[in-house]
Symmetry: C2
């Protein structure tokens, strides 16, 4: 059995809003960076998978942010993988300020796809020999919730451009989160309030596609659905606490 691993970051000026605290999308981005860097250091990163024409793809994510770090302060993201089944591997995170206090947590579920046929691979055939990387510790919060279809009250269109896409040629996760956040009132975004985001990636969105982003406010939840013109591609629910 392995141990949890921590990575230290600084809240950069480019990651804060005018409250001089890191934005939720910037924190989610660093959580995902941590996943990439930790997998790479442990020998199962996308650099290695790409050589076999495979890649990690994020399927679902839940992130809870109770407080947002102030500009120039340091914070730590601790990560561990605690389980996997045929389709999904579960990677967990806790976020801690310089005094060690936990101010956030996340649970992410990933699959590995074969880039030639763009289909998920049975993880047992890949991770089988890597069970010594699992950590015997529970997820720090409820796993990503299923998000159902919505009845949009507001709709925004967005054409996918170069700055939206990632190393897989898909729209970058942070850009999806930004597209959703950008539809909300700025007073809500800059409030210092605990928030939980559940996001579910169903289909890829690609360069040149025109996306529609629907938004519905229902029972204290901000619900979103991104469609790529053919099908619902991403659904998310944002809960302000």
């Amino acid at each position: 059995m392995a141990e949890k691993t921590g990575y230290t970051y600084y809240a950069d000026p480019q990651q804060v809003d005018f409250t001089l605290r890191m934005t939720v999308p910037a924190l989610a981005n660093e959580v995902l960076n941590t996943a990439g860097v930790d997998a790479q250091r442990k020998g199962f990163g996308i650099d290695k998978l790409n050589k076999e024409n495979r890649s990690w793809v994020l399927s679902r994510m839940a992130i809870e942010i109770d407080d947002r770090p102030e500009q120039y302060t340091s914070y730590e993201i601790v990560t561990w993988v605690n389980e996997y089944n045929r389709m999904l591997s579960t990677r967990n995170f806790t976020l801690h300020d310089a005094a060690g206090r936990e101010f956030g947590r996340a649970v992410t579920q990933w699959c590995i796809i074969d880039l030639a046929v763009r289909k998920a691979i049975d993880l047992n055939t890949v991770i089988g020999p890597c069970t010594d990387t699992l950590v015997d510790a529970p997820s720090p919060t409820e796993k990503p919730r299923k998000v159902m279809g919505i009845t949009p009250q507001h709709v925004m269109e967005h054409r996918v451009v170069y700055s939206d896409i990632d190393f897989n040629r898909h729209v970058n996760t942070m850009r999806y989160i930004n597209m959703m956040f950008d539809m909300l009132p700025i007073e809500q975004l800059t409030a210092i309030r605990p928030v939980r985001l559940d996001i579910h990636f169903m289909h890829e969105c690609r360069y040149g596609q025109t996306l529609t982003v629907g938004y519905e406010q229902r029972d204290g939840l901000s619900l979103f659905e991104v469609s790529n013109g053919e099908e619902a591609a991403v659904r998310a629910a944002l809960e302000w606490r």
Copy 2:
């Protein structure tokens, strides 16, 4: 006289395009982060200026990128301030790969504004006592060139949203660069070719404004002008070498 200071970074998965090399906008962003962090460590950062209701504002930037770091490789950004006059302070950068080879360089010119009246302050009244932070070394390349008005061949509209704005409530420099890059053919953006970007910030663009971005291809230069509806706000020239 002071010495140059170096900061080490890693090329994160979130900063690369599908060539698995860092994008030019991501490199420009880290150069600007380095400016912020270095100023803060030396005691004249925005954290200190904000207490006096002042802030650093980038006026002009020239950045040359000969090569782009591969994902997960480390690189160093070395920075120094070598001169200032009444209006502008000049901060320089060189970018080096893990073997120490220089693969890029930048020259930036900054002013300090009074946030109450949004006007530039005479730097002599601020930096006067800080001349011991100047480094006796020339700028690593030609200073930012003046970019003249353009005759746009293509125009794009963009409404300024939360994810576009920075700690000054202005559109973030990286977002301007992304808006411009996103108008170019993707084959040009993903080619591994030396490039120089000159960018000139004339007026602020703010939350809720609708911007127009004009693009003209002329004599091997990609020329851009961002207007906030009232006036030309940003001009830039991109030279592929």
